[in-house]
Structures are given as structure tokens and as C-alpha cells.
């Protein structure tokens, strides 16, 4: 017992110090989420939100959907690559962009369920962003577990995949504990002490801040979207070297099943589906194309093309940017299109006109 207490006494000081500093300062809002209801309410009422808007995106959008005053006719399910899709592309229709950063198929299930519960049915049209890495087995993202219940509700209704294939919510709670005692976060907290980036509810757009708009889309500061072309090219190359998400040679069967399950479920609910394959920056694409270890992302194009014939949904975009006549200037980093380059693919009138030249695909 004496030893046990001595061990505790040695451990308690660093744990108490890191835990309390991290919890009280919490510069990235990873430990305290009490701001969410107020922010969600403001957004649902037509206000704008600036600040670290990627933090807790899933929880915020869950609350936001619950408080939405309209029933969206068009819904976007996707990642940061479709966060720039805005209401004005669908004039005359009610719209909501439920994209979240690092979106997984599980997130898509969850948001579809939340919208269905909210309006007792599905939107007329759903745009699904098919990030290539979602079909591999290297992509690790646990934050969808925040909305695990919603994910399971649709999964169980469709009934083809056992919930036992997916982690429990405890996995997310472990991440919270880890972050509470993280020394990296502790150092960041001390660095940010007194000057954390705060959430601000606004009426107008601020060009130098990341903002969430009332339609669910995200507006990035001009310094990111209009960065120097050389800087963008460097980012595009760096993305290839730093990201392991695309490292797979064949689509993963479970991921494909999860995706097809969602597609067939939404089609049974009479939703008009548009699947968007987001392109890569030409430099990133070139590096990916040269690497045998990344062959899987090119198989995703073929897989989706076959699927489009089977399920008869609309397929737009392509992994290869030159197939879409896109150049470096259309991107602001390795994977993200600028809004003006993204819009023609998503805009409902243009969907059929901008189909990629499939022959160019590898």
C-alpha cells in the first residue's frame, strides 16, 4: 500500500498539472464543448460563425441540423473538399451542406439519419463526395463515433453489415483522456494562454477569417484560397509525402460494402444521388500516379464508374485533374479545389455537361 501511494504521489503531480492546464485553457476546444448549442442556434438562425470552426465539426453539425428551421431539399455529404459548396449553386431550393473535415462513410450515414429524423424523410437530392482514401484501409478517423448512434440506426435498417465491425464509442473517450493529459497539448495551451482563437457570431463575412455560413458551407480566408502559386505547388507536393491515407492498392471490401449499402439505402428512399469524385492537384496526382503503393486511388475511379452503371446515379469529377481540364491554379493545396473551380461540377445544371473524359483516366 505504501508503494502504491508513493507511485500515486509521483504520478499525481504531472497528471494534475497537465490535466488542469489543458482543461482550463483548452485552446483547440477539444476538451470542452459547451459553446456548441449557442453556436448551432446562431447558425440555424442565419448568423455566421468565425473561429476554430473545424473543432468539433460533427457535434456542431448535429446540433445545427436538429435546430434547422427549414427542410433541406439538397444535402451535401462530404469532407473539406465539398465544404465550399454553397446555397447559391442551387437557386430556389433549400439547401444544407453537412460536410465535415475528414468525413467518413459513417459520418454520411449519421448525417443522413439526422436529416431524416428532422424532416421525417430525405432531401430530394443528395451530393456525396467520394474521397478516394475512404475506399482504402489506411484512413484513420475516429471522430464519427460522436454520432455513432445515428450511424448505427441506418446501418441496422439496411442490415447487411454487422455493427460488430465498428469500434465502440469508448475509443473516442480514450482520445479525450489522452488529450487531457497530453504534454504536447499542455505546451500548446501555455503558448496560447490569454490569446486563444475565439468563436465569434457575426452578421457579415470577414475575409481574413475561416467562417461557417448559415447554409453549412465553409469560407476560408483569402490568404489560403488565394495563396501564391509556388506556395500552393509546394503544399501539393508536401501533401503527397505527408499523407498516408491514399496508401492502398485495391479498394477495401468492407469500405466498398459500407458505401454501397448507403447508396442503395438512399436510393430506396427515392433520393436523387450525385456522386462527386474530387480531383487532385496536378502535381499531387503526378506523384500519386508514379507510385505503385498508391494504385488503389486509381482503381476507385473504375470502381465508381461500374457502380454508377449498376445503381444509375450521376457521377461527376475524376481523380485525374487533366481529365477535367483543371490546372494548378484551380487548387489551393494538394486536394482542395477553389470554389469557382468546384462549382461547375456540383451545380445541378452543369452536372451532365462537365462529365470527365474517361479515356484519359489511367
Amino acid at each position: 500500500m505504501k508503494l502504491f501511494l508513493r507511485i500515486l504521489s509521483v504520478l499525481i503531480l504531472p497528471l494534475l498539472l497537465t490535466g488542469s492546464v489543458n482543461y482550463l485553457i483548452d485552446p483547440d476546444y477539444t476538451l470542452r464543448k459547451d459553446y456548441i448549442p449557442e453556436a448551432a442556434s446562431a447558425l440555424a438562425n442565419g448568423k455566421l460563425l468565425s473561429g476554430p470552426i473545424n473543432a468539433n465539426g460533427r457535434l456542431l453539425k448535429r446540433e445545427w441540423i436538429k435546430q434547422l428551421e427549414h427542410h433541406p431539399e439538397v444535402l451535401v455529404l462530404g469532407s473539406s473538399r465539398t465544404m465550399g459548396v454553397t446555397q447559391d449553386l442551387f437557386a430556389g431550393k433549400s439547401f444544407f451542406n453537412a460536410s465535415v473535415s475528414n468525413c467518413t462513410f459513417q459520418d454520411m450515414y449519421a448525417f443522413a439519419d439526422l436529416v431524416e429524423k428532422k424532416q421525417n424523410g430525405f432531401p430530394d437530392e443528395i451530393i456525396v463526395c467520394c474521397d478516394q482514401w475512404l475506399f482504402g484501409n489506411s484512413f484513420r478517423e475516429k471522430r464519427w463515433l460522436y454520432n455513432r448512434k445515428n450511424f448505427l440506426r441506418i446501418l441496422q435498417k439496411s442490415g447487411k453489415i454487422s455493427p460488430g465491425n465498428f469500434p465502440k464509442k469508448w475509443e473516442l473517450q480514450k482520445e479525450w483522456i489522452k488529450e487531457l493529459f497530453s504534454v504536447r497539448y499542455f505546451l500548446r495551451s501555455l503558448k496560447q494562454f490569454g490569446k486563444p482563437e475565439k468563436f465569434e457570431i457575426r452578421d457579415t463575412v470577414h475575409p481574413e477569417k475561416s467562417m461557417l455560413l448559415p447554409d453549412g458551407s465553409r469560407l476560408l480566408p483569402l490568404q489560403i484560397t488565394e495563396a501564391d502559386p509556388d506556395e500552393v505547388n509546394e503544399k501539393a507536393k508536401a501533401y503527397f509525402y505527408s499523407s498516408g491515407d491514399e496508401m492502398f492498392t485495391q479498394p477495401d471490401p468492407l469500405q466498398c460494402l459500407l458505401f454501397e449499402n448507403l447508396i442503395s439505402y438512399l436510393q430506396k428512399k427515392d433520393c436523387k444521388l450525385t456522386l462527386f469524385i474530387p480531383p487532385y492537384h496536378p502535381l499531387t496526382w503526378q506523384l500519386l500516379h508514379q507510385s505503385e503503393k498508391h494504385a488503389g486511388i486509381f482503381n476507385v475511379d473504375n470502381y465508381l464508374q461500374n457502380l454508377a452503371e449498376k445503381y444509375t446515379f450521376r457521377l461527376v469529377g475524376a481523380t485525374n485533374p487533366s481529365a477535367l481540364k483543371l490546372t494548378s491554379s484551380d487548387f489551393y493545396d494538394g486536394v482542395h479545389l477553389k470554389k469557382e473551380a468546384l462549382s461547375p461540377f456540383i451545380h445541378s445544371d452543369s452536372l451532365t455537361q462537365r462529365k470527365p473524359n474517361r479515356k484519359v483516366l489511367p
Partner: protein, 474 residues
């Protein structure tokens, strides 16, 4: 359950309290039943279905051990030994090697013009199967060789096989050392337990602060082996040597420390292997429990040193190749084993009897040379296939130009990894005569506590939940 998981952080203190407060008080059987239950919970947390394999191994070897001992003739003893070997190695072969050999057989037959259909069973490799299989095998083999008497205590034997601190990644204990420790109640020894805790802390530092910080850099370099420069690849190989040492020696230190907290003594598994002055010495310091296992149960039965020079060399090669195959069903491991066999044979004339000598700084040339050989061999261990390993070594030798480390990864990842790696190596050097890096009772209490706090902060700095240990796959 992983040692570096939050589940284990909650699990072990509860086990420790219950163990010393209730279960280790009156009855050995009650204590062993408690340890067995907690060990099975520990293992079953990963996949309870594979508990059946541990049970099978325990039942078969307990029974075979008795039968070997009772058998009147050598022939009959041999029958029961063969039964034990067949069951244990059969299970190991099925789960670990079946897919590999089936694939290779198909390739071979196809090259002869016969078409064979691939057999795909999608077998999951049970965690730690190679470790507990070898541990139980040593029990029946030692009884067959009249070096050990079988135990009548079924519960003690089952606990010996499933003892959770060393169940999934060793040290591979001999029954002679560990099994008798389950026959008596433990007396709490404050100094031993405190030292055990320090060893656990040192193990976590090696695993979390060093190996887990280095791992993403190594992964990136090996991922971009086709475009990385020679210097980057060489650094990747060196960092992998550090990673695998931190990972595995870290695991062993945690296992030995946890066992000490429960009052058990486990054998030392690493003894400053990177300060070895030749390959022979390296193998007396690296994964000691496995290398001595192969020496006693493979090399010596093959004839060991008591045969012609050619036969002795052949025995060395066979032992190293089997040792490579033990690590995994892949040609990379076989080549890794074969390279070590070759290095062992080629450097034997210059090796002398250095094991008993103290390591000195002036021997840096032999230490650096041995480390370089070990690092070259580790390229095969880490590579996905022998072609990748060959490509990396070719690019390194050809001084290829390409991406630098800073282009592949960020300085914020590199700096902590290098800093903690240097800390580990320097401490291992300074503490080379001690059992582990935190054996620092000679320091003043204030300094000692400062070291503890530094280690705890380093662990919390790098902590990532559930980053698995490399040796779990073996």
C-alpha cells in the same frame, strides 16, 4: 489488451491492489486462479476466441509432460513428445505459415507449368502465438530430456502458460525458472516492487517516447523509398534500429517490471545489444530468451559445436534461418535470419571472447561496425518485400539523390524523435552495468524525482493510444 492502452492503465492498478490485498494472502490456488483469470481477461480483450488456443496448448502440454515422465521406455516418451510438438507446431503452422507456404507452393508449381488454385483461408494471426508456443514446448522437451519434473499442479501450469505480463511478447520463460514461482505465496518486497515500477516506467519511455516518436518518420521514409536520397534512407534504417529496440526492449522492461510488482522474477531479455562488439556478442544481448531457446532446442540438437567445421557452419545457418522464419511468414524475415547467419560466420574469426569483457568507449570502432551490420540486416526486417529491401540498399550504396528527410517529414516530428532517441542511447550507455535505465537508486532523492518527472512528461508528450508493439505480430 496493450500495455500502452488506457484500458491497461485502469486494469493493472486494480489487479495489483486485489492481488496484494486479497488473493496473495492465504492460498496459492486462489492466487493462481486470480492470476489466470486476469491473464485470460488480458488476452481475451483482444479476441476471446483465441483463448481456446492457449487452453489447448496448456492442456496438451500438461498431459504430455506427465505422460513423458511416466513412460517407461524411450520410445514411448518420444511418442508423447512428438504429440506435443505436432499439436503446438501444427497450430503455429496453420495460423502463421499456412498462407505463406500455400502461396509459395502455387508459385513453384506454376513455374513448372502446373496450374494450382490458390487456397485463401483468411486466417487471423493470434497475438503472441509464437511466444507461448515456444514457452510450453520447452516444458515438454525439458521433461523428455530429464531436465525437469512435470508439475501436478494444473492451475499453476495453466497460469505459467498464460501469465499476462509476458504472455504475448515474452520474455520466453523456461518452466524451470518460472513454473516453481507459482508454487508459493509471494512476500511483498518493497525494494523489488519499487525497482519493478522504475523498470516499467523506463519501458514506457522506450516504447512511447522513443519508438512511437520514431515510427512515423521510419514509416514515411520506407513509404517513399523510391524517391528518398541515400542519406535519408540510411537515416531511416538507423532510426528503424532504434525504433525496434525501443519497442521490443521497452515491452520486455514493462513485462519484467510488472512481474516484479507481482513478486515474480522474469529473465533479462536485452542487455545493451547495440554496444556489442561483434555479431556473436549481439546475439547474446538481443532477445536473449529467444536466442537461448534456439541455442538449446535447435542448435545443440543439430550437433552444435561438437562436429566438423562445415557442419557447425551449416547448423548456424539453419538456426538463424529458422529464427528468421519464427519472426514471420515472409521472405524478408528468412533473408534477415540468413544475413545474420552469414555475418555471424564471417565475423567469427575476429570475434574472440568478448562477452565477459567490459564494454569500453575505446572499442567504438567494433561497436559502430556491428551496429552497421545489424542495421543493414534490419532493412530486410522492416521492408515489405525483399525487392524493396534490395532497392533501399542499392540506393544507399549508389549514393542516390532524392528527397531529404526534411522534405518528407516535418521538423516538429524529427526533433522530439531524435532528442528522445539520444536520451535512450546515452542512458543505456551510462547505465550499461545496471539492469535497466532507471536503476538510479544511487542518485539523491531530489535528482531521482526530477528524472522521474522528466520521464513521465516525455511519455505524456508522445503518448498515442493503442500503437501496437512490433513483436505482437510474431
Amino acid at each position: 489488451m496493450l500495455f500502452n492502452s488506457i484500458e491497461f492503465v485502469l486494469f493493472f492498478p486494480a489487479v495489483l491492489l486485489l492481488y496484494w490485498q486479497f488473493f496473495n494472502r492465504k492460498s496459492v490456488n486462489l492466487r493462481n486462479a486470480f492470476l489466470l483469470t486476469t491473464s485470460y481477461i488480458f488476452y481475451g480483450w483482444w479476441d476471446y476466441r483465441f483463448l481456446g488456443l492457449i487452453l489447448l496448448s496448456s492442456v496438451v502440454d500438461f498431459w504430455c509432460g506427465k505422460k513423458i515422465f511416466q513412460a517407461q521406455t524411450k520410445n514411448r516418451k518420444r511418442h508423447f513428445l512428438i504429440l506435443s510438438l505436432t499439436v503446438n507446431l501444427g497450430v503455429l503452422f496453420f495460423f502463421k505459415y499456412f498462407g505463406f507456404f500455400a502461396d509459395e507452393l502455387i508459385v513453384l508449381f506454376n513455374s513448372w507449368g502446373y496450374s494450382l488454385h490458390p487456397v485463401s483461408l483468411n486466417v487471423i494471426l493470434p497475438v503472441g502465438i509464437s511466444f507461448y508456443t515456444f514457452q510450453t514446448l520447452s516444458y515438454t522437451i525439458d521433461i523428455y530430456r530429464d531436465r525437469l519434473k512435470p508439475t501436478d499442479d494444473r492451475l499453476a501450469f495453466f497460469t505459467f502458460v498464460g501469465f499476462f505480463p509476458q504472455l504475448v511478447a515474452g520474455p520466453i520463460e523456461r518452466a524451470k525458472n518460472l513454473l516453481p514461482q507459482f508454487n508459493t505465496l509471494k512476500t511483498f518486497d518493497y525494494n523489488r516492487a519499487a525497482n519493478g515500477f522504475r523498470q516499467v516506467l523506463w519501458g514506457f519511455f522506450a516504447k512511447i517516447a522513443v519508438a512511437d516518436s520514431v515510427a512515423p518518420i521510419v514509416d514515411t521514409i520506407f513509404l517513399h523509398d523510391e524517391t528518398a536520397s541515400a542519406a535519408t534512407l540510411a537515416l531511416g534504417a538507423v532510426l528503424f534500429s532504434i525504433q525496434i529496440f525501443g519497442d521490443f526492449a521497452g515491452y520486455s522492461n514493462i513485462a519484467i517490471g510488472l512481474a516484479a510488482l507481482l513478486g515474480f522474477d522474469l529473465m533479462q531479455n536485452f542487455n545493451n545489444p547495440y554496444f556489442s562488439r561483434n555479431i556473436r556478442e549481439f546475439w547474446s544481448r538481443w532477445h536473449i530468451s529467444l536466442s537461448t531457446w534456439f541455442r538449446d532446442y535447435v542448435y545443440i540438437p543439430l550437433g552444435g559445436n561438437r562436429c566438423s567445421s562445415f557442419r557447425r557452419s551449416l547448423n548456424v545457418m539453419v538456426t538463424f534461418i529458422i529464427s528468421g522464419l519464427w519472426h514471420g511468414a515472409n521472405w524478408t524475415f528468412i533473408v534477415w535470419g540468413a544475413i545474420h547467419g552469414l555475418f555471424y560466420l564471417l565475423t567469427r574469426p575476429f570475434s574472440g571472447k568478448t562477452q565477459s569483457d567490459k564494454i569500453r568507449a575505446r572499442q567504438w570502432f567494433s561497436i559502430a561496425g556491428t551496429f552497421m551490420l545489424v542495421t543493414i540486416a534490419f532493412v530486410f526486417f522492416r521492408a515489405e518485400n525483399i525487392f524493396q529491401a534490395g532497392n533501399i540498399l542499392m540506393r544507399m550504396c549508389g549514393l542516390a539523390k532524392g528527397q531529404t528527410l526534411l522534405q518528407l517529414t516535418s521538423i516538429t516530428k524529427i526533433l522530439p524523435a531524435i532528442f528522445f532517441s539520444v536520451m535512450l542511447i546515452v542512458t543505456e550507455w551510462v547505465q550499461k552495468d545496471k539492469k535497466h535505465g532507471l536503476d538510479i537508486l544511487f542518485l539523491k532523492p531530489a535528482v531521482r524525482h526530477a528524472v522521474y518527472y522528466f520521464i513521465i512528461f516525455a511519455i505524456l508528450f508522445s503518448f498515442q493510444t493503442d500503437r501496437v508493439f512490433i513483436y505482437f505480430q510474431f
